[in-house]
Amino acid sequence: MSETRNFKLRVWRQANAAATGKFVEYDAKGISPDASFLEMLDLVNDELIKRGEDPIAFDSDCREGICGSCSCVVDGVPHGTEPAITTCQLYMRNFHDGATVTVEPFRAKAFPVLKDLVVDRSAFDRIIAAGGYVSVGTGSAPEANEMPVPKDDAEAAFEAAACIGCGACVAACKNASASLFVGAKLEHMARLPQGQAERYRRVARMVAQMEAEGFGACSNEAECQAVCPKEIPTSVIQRMNRDYLKTWLKTI
């Protein structure tokens, strides 16, 4: 544990949504390689507070890769260059001593920066409110084992439902498309018998909301899949497109 490392940080600082931001350099000294990336930022912030400087604002909660709060672009890649993790699961052992590390917020028109590394992702909640659910009131459910679900379908639904709503897919896409996020929810529902009744209504409404929020069209470059901490595949976007087309064909 005695070995520690020093880093130079270039961090995006922006006072609020209306302000112009810029990169500011900080030293992170004496950092254990076993510290996580966000623990390193905690230490930097504690030093800033002691010096009377405004600490770097960033979102973080569970620190184990499941809540989807953290939203940093590290060295140009959402959640950093290690595959299949969130920013909070990034460890300083992955950065060599003396490295310069660039930290920015997720950037997208639909994710305005609120302060420093903190962005507003409430557009995702509004997309879910536009049909990302099964309409079943509390107390009206049938017995759970009445409707068997093939194991493979349940597993596929789970894998899509593992989306943590972090928004890295949007941040990685040159069009700032939310297709992976929306596709994952549609896939989750479409693989289960419970999701069938509202299947086509759901895709029409969620896609419309996605467009209304200012997310772009899918770029077909699969950058989203590459940064997704839960490794959700772009095949979910193909299903979204197929189901959307079917919905559209029904209307003509």
């Binding site: 609020n16 254990s32 076993d34 510290a35 966000l38 623990e39 390193m40 905690d42 230490l43 912030n45 504690d46 507070i49 002691k50 600490p55 604002a57 909660d61 569970c62 620190r63 184990e64 890769g65 499941i66 809540c67 989807g68 709060s69 993790i85 699961q89 460890y91 609120l114 302060k115 903190v118 992702r121 409430s122 909640d125 879910i128 409110a129 536009a130 049909g131 659910y133 099964v134 079943v136 509390t138 459910a141 049938p142 017995e143 759970a144 084992n145 068997p148 679900v149 093939p150 194991k151 349940a154 639904a157 789970f158 439902a161 943590i164 709503g165 989750h188 289960l192 419970q194 999701g195």
Partner: protein, 637 residues
């Protein structure tokens, strides 16, 4: 003074059904006239908001996070219990009830626990209908697994992400009501005070965490679902934003805080490695289904684990508890891990860890089967520790995980403050002195989906509530208190940061109010937390402005509340001169080192009334009676 839990009469297995049939209702056309404030959107808060919205109430739900989908329920890994008996292994509502009461070491309210077991089956039905992708067998039916403290297989799961899947189910149900216009979500809002009007809970003061503005919300009832206070220990498995502020501020307004010293230490966490750490990571208890816990037989054995032959390993849980083996309840597993480390037999660089070994499971089931069951947990362990658990045994150590204590509530989940309901981990009622695995998700959803919608209607229908206005005197005065508190904290401008104070407080609490407690240590802790609180008030450095996004201020306010709250935890641990569940007083143990309860003197819920800064709190007791579950010495041997 003794407290009355308002438990209805009749035999235990029909109390809830017959009470439901007799509680008052609110006419569907009248429900939209009621404004209900839900604070917190984890399993309890989201399920309550969804259900009340469906019923037609006008619901405002606040979350401290940027989205309700991120609440800390999401991190629960292992599963959710339900008495479905799909495995035909002898499970029943009674057995789930009995296991939970026994697991809680007879310090929970029996009638609440029975109700929990009854509605457990409805929860699974509801979640499946919502599209929660539970694990299934090849026949397409639901799979289950076993958890600690039970000899049946009643835990439903979605790999190691059950909390996430259940929360997304509840979140989506709530968002459906947002769509329908009955629920309004306010994200990035932190409740900082409760507003009482004529003695009733009628609103809250919340801080908008983006602008820093204080906002007033008025309603006919306040439902708190703000989780637990494990972060009083600084290092815990809780998320960074989990805090005691909402419940503690209600306690300061007169709500009693029950059993505050009951904090669960989870046996299977990744051990601490250094001072920079912000949190500890839990590995699901489900791992104990197939992982075997051991340490070397002799102290000072520093060979690598694969060099230690079976004959020189001590599988101490299997040895001491042959019937439950590695699946003993959490408190028992944690205490035993601590004691083998205290004997110098701990492993890893710090000596504060034990092995959780999958060698035999991999041999028996094969790599792929083990990966299917626990793959994401193994990956998580590898990310953090840089070691591959398929090759090397995991190293684990107990860490604070869940708090059984919380605001006192009656059978209706209402606190002693009329109109203030408390749900999920934030209340005290169902887990006694130790929570069994896979019971927290069950309780959060039971409270929100199936209990509070009935009991809230009963309260509203039977209470004359006048109109309240957000610009009324009570709201103005309460907001003034909050704004002065914030100004005072920013004014101190001392030398030590909030993080430094929090770490120090956590150390005192972990050392003396943790896995083992004794009078001398607790008395020392009482003095230490008072001293630390005074130092905090004079020497803390919180910078920035009140009217801005200011995370340093958010944490400063929360740690200030921990500084006050920790004192009643210590007092509660001092008062309880017995050992039960998580509360292990070293003075009170059986000859073989297990908890020695004192049912004659301590079969009560300790509900503490705050009486003012620096003043001793008043203890109120709710006597616990056990009619259906015979009280006996807990044994897992």
């Amino acid at each position: 003074m003794s407290l009355d839990g308002q438990v209805p009469g009749g035999p235990i297995d029909s109390k809830w059904e017959s009470h439901k049939a007799h509680m008052s209702l609110v006419n569907p056309a009248n429900r939209r006239k009621y404004n209900i404030i839900v604070v917190g959107t984890g399993l309890a808060g989201a399920s309550a908001a969804a259900t009340l919205g469906e019923a037609g109430y006008n619901v405002t739900a606040l979350t401290i996070l940027d989205s309700p989908r991120r609440s800390h329920s999401i991190a629960a890994q292992g599963g959710i219990n339900a008495a479905k008996n799909y495995k035909n292994d002898g499970d029943s509502v009674y057995r789930l009830f009995y296991d939970t009461v026994k697991g809680g070491d007879y310090r929970a309210r029996e009638a609440n626990v029975h109700r929990l077991a009854e509605v457990s089956v409805d929860i699974i039905d509801q979640c499946v209908a919502q599209g929660v992708p539970f694990a299934r067998e090849y026949g397409g039916l639901l799979d289950t697994r076993s958890f600690g403290g039970a000899q049946v297989s009643r835990t439903f799961y979605s790999r190691g992400q059950t909390g996430q899947q259940l929360l997304i189910g509840a979140y989506q149900a709530m968002m459906r009501q947002v769509d329908a216009g009955t629920v309004k979500i306010l994200a990035r809002r932190e409740m900082l005070d409760l507003v009482l009007v004529g003695g009733h809970a009628r609103g809250i003061i919340a801080r908008n965490l983006v602008t820093g503005a204080l906002e007033r919300y008025a309603g006919d009832a306040v439902l708190l679902a703000t989780g637990g206070y494990g972060n009083v220990y600084f290092l815990s498995t809780n998320a960074g934003n989990c805090n005691v502020t909402a419940t503690w501020r209600c306690a300061r307004r007169g709500a009693y805080f029950a059993n505050p010293s009951f904090a669960q230490v989870h046996p299977t966490c990744i051990p601490e490695t250094g001072d920079y750490q912000a949190k500890l990571t839990l590995m699901s208890e489900s791992l104990r289904n197939d992982g075997r816990v051991w340490v070397p037989k002799s102290s000072g054995d520093h060979r690598s684990p694969d060099q230690i032959p079976d004959g020189e390993r001590d599988y101490f849980l299997e040895r001491k508890y042959p019937s439950f083996g590695n699946l003993v309840p959490r408190d028992v597993a944690s205490r035993n891990a601590k004691s083998v480390c205290d004997e110098g037999r701990g492993v890893g660089s710090t000596g504060r860890a034990v092995y959780l070994d999958f060698r035999d499971a991999i041999q028996r089931l094969g790599h792929d089967k083990v990966a299917e069951k626990y793959g994401n947990l193994f990956d998580m362990y590898k990310h953090i520790s840089n070691e591959d658990p398929y090759q090397v045994p995991m190293r684990i150590y107990p860490a604070v995980h869940y708090t059984m204590g919380g605001l006192w509530v009656d059978y209706h989940l209402m606190s002693n403050v009329p109109g203030l309901f408390v749900l999920g981990e934030a209340n005290f009622s169902d887990h006694g002195a130790n929570r069994l695995g896979a019971s927290a998700l069950m309780q959060g959803l039971a409270d929100g989906y199936f209990v509070v919608p009935y009991t809230l209607a009963n309260y509203l229908a039977n209470t004359q509530l006048g109109a309240v206005k957000q610009d009324g005197d009570d709201f103005r005065a309460t907001e003034q208190v909050v704004s002065e508190r914030i100004a005072n904290l920013l004014k101190v401008n001392g030398k030590k940061t909030v993080l430094e104070f929090h770490r120090e407080l956590g150390r005192v609490m972990w050392d003396h109010v943790g896995m083992a407690r004794n009078r001398k240590g607790l008395e020392g802790a009482l003095a230490s937390v008072k001293k630390l609180r005074e130092e905090f008030q004079q020497n803390v450095k919180v910078i920035g402005k009140a009217d801005d996004m200011n995370k340093a201020l958010e944490f400063g306010l929360r740690v200030a509340d921990y500084m006050e709250f920790s004192e009643i935890m210590v007092r509660d641990a001092l008062d309880r001169e017995e050992s039960c569940g998580c509360h292990f007083r070293e003075e009170y143990q059986t000859p073989d080192g297990e908890c020695q309860r004192n049912d004659e003197k301590y079969s009560y819920v300790a509900a503490w009334e705050y009486t003012g800064p620096g003043k001793e709190p008043i203890l109120h007791k709710e006597q616990l009676k056990f009619e259906a579950a015979a009280v006996k010495q807990r044994s897992y041997k």
